[in-house]
């Protein structure tokens, strides 16, 4: 179709050259064009956080972010870089161990948001964790085990931080 424009995106350190319609959101492009379905679509309007990805390390709602805007930036998703990301993996382990995952639909967004939180504040207080979770809905867990998982991930990472 002639309304396609060429776009070059770096996702999890890998470059993708694609042609998309200019109004496509990053969420649509990740899920539909690149087939990276780990990032979830729920409200589609910036209210739930299930679509959270990192752009240059900062958590954003990819449903509100045009893919063309992400050009030249580093996009990180729940799938993580091919070579692995120890911090991301620790967060995932903590979510699993602490019972922070029920239906799991909010989980990728929560995990990615935690990745960004812990890179800004290594050992956030309970209040800081809750504040960081505003805009991230979870209908299943009642958040308690998510907060506990984030605390656990922070302390695990802080312990390993020295080496």
């Amino acid at each position: 179709m002639n309304d396609l424009i060429p776009v070059s995106l770096r996702v999890n350190g890998v470059r993708y050259d694609i042609a998309i319609r200019p109004w496509r959101t990053l969420l649509e492009v990740l899920r539909e064009t690149l087939g990276m379905t780990g990032t979830k679509r729920s409200c589609g309007e910036g209210q739930c956080g299930t679509c959270t990805v990192l752009i240059d390390g900062k958590a954003v709602n990819s449903c509100l972010y045009l893919a063309v805007e992400a050009q030249g930036k580093e996009i990180s998703t729940i799938e993580g870089p091919p070579e692995g990301d120890p911090a991301l993996e620790q967060i995932q382990r903590s979510f699993v161990a602490k019972g922070a995952v029920q239906c799991g639909f909010c989980t990728p967004g929560m995990v990615v948001a935690t990745r960004s939180l812990l890179s800004e504040i290594a050992e956030p207080s309970e209040d800081e964790i809750r504040e960081a979770l505003v805009g991230h809905l979870c209908r299943c867990t009642g958040y308690v085990q998510i907060v506990e998982a984030i605390q656990d991930a922070a302390s695990q990472l802080a312990h390993k931080g020295g080496d």
């Binding site: 780990g38 019972g99 029920q102 239906c103 989980t107 964790i129």
Partner: protein, 771 residues
């Protein structure tokens, strides 16, 4: 048969066990329905009625069909016109409306196109000519003479009526020292699961239709699809994907989108995907019934309940859903958790031109508990009885038989009350907190699965693999509550293997055994018992082979840590794998276990309401502490302490998640969630305006505690009862009671918004000034 205490020394059960599928989910690798993509797949969209009540005069899809990229358009006329539904008496759903629409958002046509944008564009090109009919939105209006009639077969728009009477309420009220009446009102609340409904349908050219979808109860969907498509169930296959939150509603039933995915696929020969937007999720039916509950209670002067009389009016919306059972359940649950020797219940569920209502976590128990425990607090106050004491005096005890015939095995209600009092510091707080701070108590109960008229029995099948691991299939789905884990734990416990050795497969109607599905807190108890039996069945088969090989009586063998051991001489043992391989390779055996649990030897009389509805019942108690901002009326929940008798928690990590999740959902229900409708139009169809609890809305972790009172339920597998719904039932009344304690404002309608609280406080101030 091992004795009870030795059963309690679990190998696997009772230990906090991470959810088996959590690693995939946390890595974004769990495939949800919207993640499915197939070669040649088309995208579907649904056209919805803009009118609350109208006749469809004509539909012209020619412009839509002419749009490049559009592959098919269907209307109600493309289906056989057979109504389907949950209860045989109330089948009133159609896959797409044929000649009448009854609420704003009802599906009238569907499009399949090469992509979502094109399908969306095509919707705008479908011309529907409507003849608008008078509509009615309020149930009391709808029952009046001359009101618009929604369904021909339901005079007065009564979609369901139920009544029951046990004992003699009139005589009991006459004897009572104290009688009071109150009216409570509740609002429409949505399931609020984050995964919007989604499905992919494929109807091949050879008559076989397959639906992939996030269904909680795939077999219910399977049957309903067959009904609405008027084809044999055997020609339909329903494959369950991961379920991104259920809480009942559309994931419990076949929805118009499911029918349309299949029909559009039939027309196009391609797989067709449909996904609701969140706006659609909020506009369509499926929500908690808004209710008006009139409650009259008579007690002795020391607060013992002698009689309760309840009249209930439920705004059912445009269709029946499960509504007949919803109101039945509300009446049945008056009998828990307090002794009510005489009770009378009269309920109507009424059709209106709103989105239809059905089940949602806690079903109708939640509304009843709000009313009853709010009123009980007033009674305690009037009679100058401690609010905990009045609950203790009326508490149901182990071994009770309720007026309506519930047989209570275990019911540690007293202990729940005591624990909550301790955890919350109740006696240091009640009446002693500073102004605008308050504490309230609330209780409730739930059942571990209901025995329904139709399909009640759960089944499980298990197949041993040559490496000593097993495939386990049931018809019950994991919706996040941890079914795959707890079922695997039960199987592992019996087989003496680890949780990881059990592969729990998702439901696929072509392969898994028949089961009603996941609802009503039935799975742990019903399916759990079936799984236990299936595992024991395999053990028997293995013991036969092992006994032969070891020269031991098979009945003396036990299964422990991947070994089969002679109980009488523990040195005699061999590895499970060795026996499995010997049996399979040398004897050609198929080790395959089957189990079922029906609990149907006795019947409920749904006309009188008498009977033992569930195998097990669980009480809950909680205290909530709030702070109310006197300027804004805003409530902050500063503490929540709950205790539940969930029997023996098989996976404490999951039980914790369930009870906390249920409690937090009830905070939302109590304080802000409300689907606002004006003349049938949903005014807040977005998660911005339909507010659900966020992480900042809860008490601090140190003040948010839950305790399990451990009992051994004889009907439960390894002593277990339900955990996912009961814990939410007492929270709303506790909040109402806490707000009252903090402000003196008694709210009898939900949600308890800041405006209502502020208004109540102003009115109290005016009254005080006036005196």
């Amino acid at each position: 048969m091992m004795n009870r205490d030795s059963q309690r020394e679990f190998q696997v059960l009772g230990k906090p066990t991470p959810k088996k599928d959590a690693p995939q989910k946390a890595a974004g690798r769990a495939e949800f329905a919207d993640d499915i993509s197939m070669p040649g797949m088309l995208h579907g969209k649904l056209l919805r009625s803009p009118h609350p009540h109208a006749r469809i005069v004509a539909i012209d899809a020619s412009l839509a069909l002419a749009l490049p990229g559009v592959r098919a358009v269907i209307t109600g006329r493309d289906f056989p016109g057979v109504r389907y539904g949950n209860l045989p008496q109330t089948r009133d759903y159609l896959p797409l409306a044929i000649d009448t629409v009854r609420y704003i958002g009802e599906e009238v046509a569907a499009v399949a196109a090469v992509d979502e944008d094109t399908a969306e564009e095509a919707l705008d090109l479908i011309r529907v000519e409507y003849e608008v009919l008078p509509a009615v939105f309020d149930p009391e209006e709808a029952m009046k003479q001359g009101a618009p009639q929604l369904h021909g077969q339901s005079p007065g728009n009564v979609s369901a009526h139920t009544e029951s009477h046990f004992g003699d309420v009139e005589a009991a009220f006459a004897q009572a020292d104290y009688v009071r009446e109150d009216v409570f009102e509740t609002q429409p609340v949505k399931q609020g699961m984050l995964e919007p409904h989604a499905c992919v349908g494929l109807w091949d050219g050879f008559g076989k239709a397959t639906l992939w979808s996030c269904k909680m109860s795939p077999y219910a969907v399977w049957r309903q699809l067959a009904m609405g498509l008027d084809i044999k169930p055997g020609d339909i296959r329903v494959v369950q994907t991961y379920v991104g939150g259920g809480f009942s509603g559309g994931k419990q039933e076949a929805m118009p989108m499911d029918f349309c995915a299949l029909m559009l696929s039939k027309k196009t020969g391609r797989p067709v995907k449909l996904v609701h937007t969140m706006e659609e999720v909020l506009i369509i039916g499926h929500m908690r019934h808004p209710m008006k509950i009139w409650l009259r209670t008579g007690t002795t002067k020391d607060g013992r309940i002698l009689a309760q009389h309840v009249k209930l009016l439920a705004n059912g919306g445009a269709y029946s859903s499960i509504g007949g059972f919803s109101i039945f359940l509300a009446g049945a649950m008056i009998n828990l958790p307090y002794r009510v020797p005489n009770m009378k219940f009269e309920a109507d569920r009424v059709y209106t031109n709103n989105g239809f209502c059905g089940a949602l976590r806690g079903h109708t128990v939640v509304q009843m508990c709000f009313a009853r425990d709010s009123q009980l607090e007033k009674i305690a106050e009037d009679l100058a009885i401690d609010p905990l004491e009045i609950r203790r005096r009326n508490a149901i005890q182990d071994g009770d038989v309720t007026a309506n015939g519930f047989r209570i095995n275990t019911f540690a209600f007293d202990e729940c009350i005591t624990r909550v009092a301790e955890m919350s510091g109740w006696y240091n707080k009640k009446g002693k907190l500073p102004k605008y701070r308050g504490i309230g108590f609330g209780c409730g109960a739930h059942l571990s699965g209901a025995r329904l008229m139709g399909h009640s029995a759960s089944t499980a099948e298990m197949r041993m693999l040559e490496d000593g691991t097993v495939h386990l299939t049931t018809g019950s789905t994991d919706v996040g509550q941890g079914v795959e884990t707890v079922m695997s734990m039960i199987a592992a416990e019996v087989l003496g293997v680890t949780v990881d050795d059990v592969h729990y497969l998702k439901v696929d109607s072509a392969a898994t055994p028949l089961d009603p599905g996941t609802f009503g807190s039935r799975v742990t108890l019903f399916t759990g018992n079936a799984v236990k039996q299936a595992a024991e069945d395999i053990c028997r088969q293995l013991a036969e082979v092992a006994g032969e090989r070891m020269g031991v009586d098979p009945r003396d063998l036990m299964f422990f840590r991947h070994e089969i051991i002679n109980r009488k001489d523990e040195k005699q043992r061999c590895s499970l794998k060795e026996i499995v391989r010997w049996g399979m390779f040398q004897q050609g055996r198929i080790f395959s276990g089957r189990g079922s649990y029906g609990y149907s030897e006795e019947k409920i009389d749904f006309r009188t309401g008498h009977g033992n509805l569930s195998p097990a019942y669980n009480p809950t108690a909680c205290a909530v502490e709030v702070e109310v901002d006197p300027e804004t009326g805003r409530v902050t929940v500063v503490g929540l302490w709950g205790a539940d008798d969930s029997g023996t928690p098989l996976n404490p990590l999951a039980v914790k998640g369930q009870v906390i999740g249920a409690a937090v959902m009830s905070i939302g229900h109590a304080l802000y969630e409300n689907l606002i409708r004006v003349d049938g139009k949903v005014m807040n169809p977005s998660l911005r305006d339909y507010k659900m609890p966020q992480a900042t809305d809860l008490p601090k972790l140190a003040d948010f505690k839950h305790s399990n009172v451990i009992t051994w339920e004889p009907e439960g597998p390894f002593g277990a009862k339900e955990a996912g719904q009961g814990a939410g039932t007492g929270v709303i009344a506790a909040l109402a009671n806490a707000v009252y304690d903090a402000t003196g404002v008694r709210l009898t309608s939900l949600p308890m918004t800041p405006e209502h609280i502020l208004f109540g406080m102003k009115r109290l101030q005016a009254q005080n000034r006036g005196q």
